[in-house]
């Protein structure tokens, strides 16, 4: 009788352990299945090159105003200004904003011209993680100017689950 009980317990235990392992395994599989691909600094660099070409990026002329510490990544105010006279011969053609770690590296592309008067644009963006945000201005003479800012995010956006 005792032996029979022990045997039963052993099987019961092994079944429990086995099913627990299965559950963990299934959990891992589903976790891997639902984590979306994220942008990385490398994919951001690739996206920048795709958008603006191979001209050298120079630091300066662009001012990127974004809080360095944000509590909620769902709405992050961002202002970008470019030092330019905005005349017919010398103006900002496009401003691009990129990020490192959202699911997609691109944030916004703005097309401007001399009729803008001044190159200053503000919007609100989502940030999925603590990361660097990069602004690039393409001038009418073909030169590229850039500015970047590091942002610490405590509540991530873009990929949070609805519950």
């Amino acid at each position: 009788m005792i032996d029979y009980d022990r045997a039963m317990q052993a099987t019961r235990r092994s079944i429990l352990i086995g099913s627990a392992r299965l559950a963990v395994g299934a959990g891992l599989v589903s976790l891997v299945g639902t984590i979306p691909a994220r942008a990385t600094p490398q994919t951001m660099r690739d996206a920048i090159r795709e958008a603006v070409g191979d001209a050298p990026l120079r630091t300066g002329r662009v001012t990127l105003d974004i809080p360095s510490l944000v509590e909620n990544g769902n709405t992050v105010p961002l202002t970008v200004a470019v030092d330019s006279p905005m005349t017919e011969s010398d103006h900002v053609k496009t401003i691009h904003i990129f990020n490192e770690k959202n699911p997609q590296p691109h944030v916004i592309t703005i097309a401007l011209g001399p009729r803008a008067g001044k190159a200053r644009v503000a919007t609100r963006i989502k940030l999925a993680d603590t990361q660097q945000v990069v602004a690039i201005a393409a001038m009418s003479d073909g030169s590229l100017w850039t500015a970047s800012a590091d942002v610490i995010v405590t509540i991530a956006a873009c990929i949070e689950d609805v519950n």
Partner: protein
């Protein structure tokens, strides 16, 4: 029709640089979020915003899912003549909305 908030000065001096603020009610669903049943919520964003001044394009923005819900865009333009400033938002699922504001330039 989504609600919009447009802040454009009613009057401006000729050649003055005016600031325009626009906001439109829209969820800007990124397409990367998981819903109640574990299924991905499909992407639903506004991907293009264009501003025209008496028919001539003065501002254009291409948006990604990284733009926050209820897209808010501030920019400026030179008040050249009296007329209509028109705003157009287009996006996923055939979203399209146009709003216009009159401006008097002296």
């Amino acid at each position: 029709m989504a609600r919009t908030l447009l802040n454009v000065p009613a009057k401006a001096a000729r050649g003055e640089i005016i600031e325009i603020k626009t906001l439109i009610a829209h969820p800007m669903e990124s397409g990367y979020r998981v819903g109640l049943n574990g299924a991905m919520i499909p992407r639903d964003i506004i991907d293009l915003f264009v501003c025209t001044y008496n028919g001539a394009e003065v501002f254009r923005a291409t948006l990604s899912p990284a733009i926050a819900a209820n897209p808010f865009i501030t920019f400026s333009t030179v008040a050249t003549e009296s007329g209509t400033i028109e705003f157009r938002w287009t996006g996923d699922n055939g979203f399209s909305q146009t709003e216009s504001v009159l401006i008097a330039v002296e």
